[in-house]
Amino acid sequence: MRYGYYPGCSLERSSAPYDVSTRAVADRLGLMLEEIDDWNCCGATEYVTLHKTAAYALVGRNLALAQAQLGRGDGRAPSLVAPCSACFLNLGKVDHAMAEHPEVERAVNGSLGAGGLRYDPGALAVRHLLEVIVNDVGLGKVCGQVKAPLQALRVAPYYGCLLTRPEIPGHTHDDPEQPTSLDELLKALGCEVVDFPLKTHCCGGHMTQISAATAYSLLYRLLRSAHEYRADVIAVACPMCQLNLDAYQGAVNKEYGTDFQLPVLYFTQLMGLAFGLPAEELGLGREFVSPEAALAKVGVATPRVAEPAAKPAAKRKKGEQALPMPVKRAARKRQRATS
């Protein structure tokens, strides 16, 4: 079975830990993820706000590139796997709309033709990474890889919205409001899974940028509920959910006079830890809310990635590049090349 991999823009930078941990875990499970060459942004929720046909065509280019790269598969449509819920929805939605509505198919392929591309609806099975791991790899195989069960860890499984909603026939594999796949996966890792009542409520999406008060009220509800259920960690399967819950947790605390300290980790990071992979290889340590106390419960030391502002300057040697960022990036590239 061939799996095309569409990481999406967030996983390139702000959610790089999701990408790193996905690749590490897939490697361990023998899941061969083949990145789609020269993929472009899926448009998130922004493109379709101003243009419809162009938004569909933007996604269409990715589908066409993936179809060309993955071919026909062995009888079954090859899978195109997205770890980001928004990318997953956009890819699946356009594929489905093209299949169901001839005018959409004509518009998308008419546009793609200008770039010498074409997509045949149904040629790919658009799937979310979580679903592929649960249904194709299987929980049995996941269990078989668990070397260090995360027994003491209370985890709130957070699905957010776009992983299960809207229901797209053939693409959505879990209940839109009461999904269980992430619960089951986390249990397979040994976690103590919290029966999180707000597991499919919204994190606010882009509202942090448009109307912060709206976003903070939604985030507050999620954090309060996870806190009341004594979760040590919130597990997520979407970069937007991670960013909102993690990076804006301080702002929510300020707004509501609370002191939530709930680390928000990708389910792939928790898988990696349970598989006994080193925390450094899972991109841990880049969170705003430190997972240090939570991970100490399962005997994992959180790597220190973030450097205080003054430190890199003090360490700099004569003649070395002034900015710390490119140095770090080069170091990571080297690390990737050797691993």
């Binding site: 419809k52 162009a54 169901e100 959409v104 546009s111 809207p166 999406g205 973030a306």
Partner: protein, 203 residues
Amino acid sequence: MNHPRASTAPVRLLERVAADTPGGERLKLCLQCGTCGGSCPSGPDMDQTPRALFALLMDGDDQAVLRSNAPWYCVSCYHCTVRCPQAIPITDVMYALRRASVRAGLADDTDAPDFSETFIGYVEKYGRSFELGLATRYHLTHSPLQKIGHGPMALGMMFKDRLGLRPARIKGLSQLKAILAKAKHMEEAQGALRILPGLQPRT
């Protein structure tokens, strides 16, 4: 390039939105049950609940619909969509209403179109989104004094190595640009960019 000109006869917003949304014809089956509004997490911020908005739309009060803030407060959670007993693609209808409102020049109470435009600008220029560019360009031009609180967060992103200083760029940029230009041309030919007759932008 020649393309068929759309008729200039007035088209009701309901018809346009139905045509501009895959499956949007189902909008006409709305029962006014209110499940959408009851399911909406940002409903309290809206001047019209989705149900009330659809009643206005059905009634032909296009002006009121296009001036409503409801589509702009939609967080795209799709709770309404999966719960609607008539299977109306409500979230997608909200997107169509956003587009119609921008085209009519009536989306002037929200920064959201500018945010989308900035985002789209980077996608069209590089083929990928560019978070740092988006954050700086959008926030510096939209009430920057209110956004001072974002500063530490942005710095945090930087020090945690979660914000790229330079955008990633795809190889097939000219291909992507040709595709998007064609798509926009087709959209225009369908009359989607025309301002609805009888609606004037607020001055």
